[in-house]
């Protein structure tokens, strides 16, 4: 157990919206190894972001509520900690990068002030030392002319630079775990490639374990060691990145992979524009989940029993889990 950086056990999160209970996350468990990257992939509403917010107890209560589960960091359960102790962990041991670099920075504060706020919260350093630490971290995330930017405001920066600042803020205390929630979704492809390369380098340098949350299978395949696929609040498949892409064992994962354009196929000569294989229908509403498998209404392999019984999450091959009645080889 020594090499586990963070463990989530049987996490369940519910939202109470106008009297209806929405099960956003349902019995989710995973382990993140030290220095590794865990990819969590799924479409909007699958619970990937909610589960990551729950790790740092950032779910607004009400309407949200963590109904069960434990989050184990360093032998302690974050769910049982006092608020003060959780604040000691946020940004110091476990930190987060959000999707929108435009809205997650304070527009009225200089970049330097925002970075030093975190340093001040967790370390007792002199003004000079704080300044140096802040400058060093901006250098580390490759912001040119870091000293000048410490006095700059977020609106003066481009999207890519803002995301670099977000990463700097997240890493300034050298946390053990970094949760990156769609860190490149709002960025252009070339900037996305830069940011992913940067995250990869920093991870190697600092030994941080990363939880990479994204809807983009391409980003997952470029960054993750181990992958979880989520659907309607539940984990439906889990495997190493190679196994998952080589031999997906859940119809939803298979469908997702077929639904994205295959560039290798396209770059072949005389290929013609062609239809994609689509997943029919839409995600079921979370406050009215079917009794059986949540993917049943969209699944092309659905059987009679899928309607009535939800399949267990079981090991289909060594190190490869999926929740489906059908066996895929």
């Amino acid at each position: 157990m020594k090499d586990i950086a963070l463990e989530v056990k049987n996490l369940a999160v519910e939202f109470n919206i106008r009297g209806k209970t929405v099960k956003a996350v349902n019995d989710l468990s995973w382990q993140l190894k030290k220095g590794h990257t865990l990819g969590i992939v799924g479409e909007s509403g699958c619970g990937k972001s909610v589960s990551s917010l729950a790790i740092l107890r950032l779910i607004p209560d009400p309407p949200g509520k963590i109904t069960s589960g434990s989050i184990l960091y360093d032998g302690q359960d974050i769910m049982k900690m006092s608020d003060k102790n959780v604040r000691d962990i946020r940004g110091r041991k476990i930190s987060m990068i959000f999707q929108e670099p435009m809205t997650s920075l304070n527009p009225l504060m200089t970049v330097g002030k925002q970075i030093s706020e975190i340093i001040d919260r967790h370390f007792k350093l002199s003004k000079q030392q704080t300044f140096i630490k802040a400058k060093n971290i901006l250098d580390l995330v490759q912001i040119p002319d870091a000293e000048r930017w410490l006095n700059g405001y977020p609106h003066e920066m481009s999207g890519g630079m803002r995301q670099r600042v977000m990463i700097a803020m997240a890493l300034v205390c050298e946390p053990a775990v970094l949760i990156a929630d769609e860190p490149t979704t709002a960025l252009d492809v070339t900037t996305q490639a830069q940011i992913l390369a940067l995250l990869n380098n920093l991870q190697k340098k600092l030994g941080t374990a990363v939880v990479m949350i994204t809807h983009d299978l391409g980003v997952i395949s470029e960054t993750a060691d181990h992958v979880i696929v989520m659907y309607a609040g539940k984990k439906v498949e889990e495997a190493s990145v190679l196994d998952l892409f080589e031999n997906p064992k859940h119809p939803y994962t298979q469908g997702l992979m077929k639904a994205i354009p295959n560039l290798e196929e396209i770059s072949k000569n005389n290929s013609k524009p062609s239809r994609l294989e689509e997943i029919k229908g839409i995600v079921p509403s979370l406050h009215d989940l079917p009794k059986g498998c949540p993917f049943e209404n969209r699944c092309s392999f659905a059987m009679e029993k899928c309607k009535h019984k939800s399949p267990n999450f079981e090991e289909k091959a060594p190190g490869h889990w999926a929740s489906c009645f059908k066996e895929f080889n």
Partner: protein, 325 residues
């Protein structure tokens, strides 16, 4: 698909500049050159993709062709007719021929209208038939885009993102256009829904002989649907060719960088040698001299900072704007 060679859309040296005022009494005038000398053609039944990063001018190009923003100079021809200088009134009958689908299915539908009204509004305006005929056509179109008749009286908020985009497509389709300009039509959608909408676009093209101009930042989406692709950078088309050539033999360094930046959903081919280009796209109000890409180009030479490269033909269907090709 039988392709005749009728040219639906021709754009010649199109420029769209937006003035920005500077200095006391706005004496100094500067321009954002959003679209800076773009020429292109779309044949009947053809799909042209325009790809570029934010700020490349791809959306302004689409809007200029629709005459939703006023082009500064150049010419836009729809089915051989020059529409660049037409008045609002003269433009009206042309609008039937060219329709647009927007990116955001949330903000491009009027929340106070029923979707039936949203889709039929254009048909009433253009008086394409009497009340009954329009109602019939409305049902027919709804069926075509995969919605049912019973949705007609619902409001946009009752629909999911994918369904709303279908409504947007239905609205564009209602007037039986020749050309549909689709501005990032799937980028706000989830992967599985994205595939559904792309398929819908392709089915409709087959059925109605539509021409598309597909604007997107995502090369893989463009590649799936387009027969021909143009790459835009800071208001210019830097490379334009058919899809196979663009992927198998890209010539412009920017195209190469774009292709190499796409994360591949195949962990085995995890790239170690991404051709990363540094920095961000420069401001279009103050673009670099010479080749606009030279500030980020790993191969830039002296000539690139001095002379503007123009599109030149390097093959029958392949044009590139680069000094080094």
């Amino acid at each position: 698909m039988n392709m005749n060679d009728e040219i639906i859309l021709e754009v010649v040296n199109l420029k769209t500049y937006f003035p920005i005022k500077k200095g006391i009494f706005s004496l100094q005038k500067n321009y954002v050159k959003a679209v800076d000398d773009v020429s292109l053609k779309i044949k009947s039944g053809e799909t042209l993709g325009i790809v570029g990063e934010s700020g490349s001018g791809k959306s302004t190009l689409g809007k200029s062709i629709m005459r939703l923003v006023k082009p500064t100079s150049g010419m836009i021809k729809i089915k051989g007719k020059d529409i660049t200088k037409l008045s609002k009134k003269e433009m009206f009958p042309i609008r039937k021929k060219v329709q647009i689908v927007f990116q955001d299915p949330y903000s491009s539908l009027n929340p106070r209208f029923t979707v039936g009204k949203i889709v039929s509004e254009g048909m009433y305006l253009h008086k394409i038939g009497n009340e009954l005929e329009i109602k019939e056509r409305l049902k027919e179109i709804f069926e075509k885009v995969g919605l049912s008749e019973f949705h007609l009286n619902s409001y946009p908020h009752e629909f999911s993102g994918g369904q709303r985009q279908r409504i947007g497509i239905a609205r564009a389709l209602a007037l039986d256009p020749n050309l549909i300009i689709a501005d990032e039509p799937v980028s706000a959608l989830d992967v599985s829904v994205q595939a559904q909408v792309i398929n819908l676009f392709m089915d409709l093209q087959q059925e109605f002989q539509l021409s598309y101009m597909f604007i997107a930042h995502d090369l893989s989406v463009i590649a799936q649907i387009c027969s021909k692709i143009g790459v835009m950078y800071l208001g210019n088309i830097v490379e334009i060719t058919d899809r196979n050539t663009l992927f198998s033999n890209p010539q412009h360094p920017y195209t190469k960088a774009l292709l190499s930046s796409i994360p591949m959903p195949n962990p085995k081919s995890r790239k170690k040698d991404h051709l990363l280009i540094e920095g961000d796209i420069p401001s279009p109000s103050n673009p670099p001299s010479g080749c606009k890409f030279h500030t980020r180009c790993p191969f830039a030479k002296k000539i690139c900072t001095e002379q503007i490269p123009y599109l030149k033909k390097i093959d029958t269907e392949h044009e590139v704007a680069c000094h080094l090709v």
